[in-house]
Symmetry: C2
Subunit: 77 residues, 2 copies
């Protein structure tokens, strides 16, 4: 079973990498970009028997820092 | 308009970060994880008038390294 975990910074947490990308896009001449936030994805290939609780547990314990990050689990089938 | 760009390593490109996460998951006792690949997301808030070509151009020029990475543009509305 393919799983994608989307990890993103919580609103309000500063994102210097996103600001740098925003600045670079403007430097390249792209207009109308308002905000840029960088996140990461973790694509896992797990056994079909893996429970939703186990997946949430992986995120809480390792994949995301829940103090400053949100995560979302998507099943890709 | 909210846009999410998913950037992932092309198949066949080594992913040491993914291997480290895989190893750490096993160390934490999670069973049945077969493969782990790490990617990143760039969430952009752009003007509604931004064309698909401009978005693809941003990806080609800055957001993804198309030699080793694939990108996918998703409109979040």
């Amino acid at each position: 079973m393919k799983i994608r975990v989307l990890v993103s910074l919580k609103p309000g947490v500063l994102d210097p990498q996103g600001r740098a990308v925003h600045h670079a896009l403007e430097g390249l001449g792209f207009q109308g970009v308002d905000e840029v936030r960088i996140g990461r994805t973790v694509e896992l290939d797990v056994a079909d028997s893996t429970s939703d609780e186990a997946l949430a547990d992986m995120c809480e314990k390792l994949l995301a820092n829940t103090v400053i990050e949100n995560y979302k689990i998507e099943k890709l089938g």
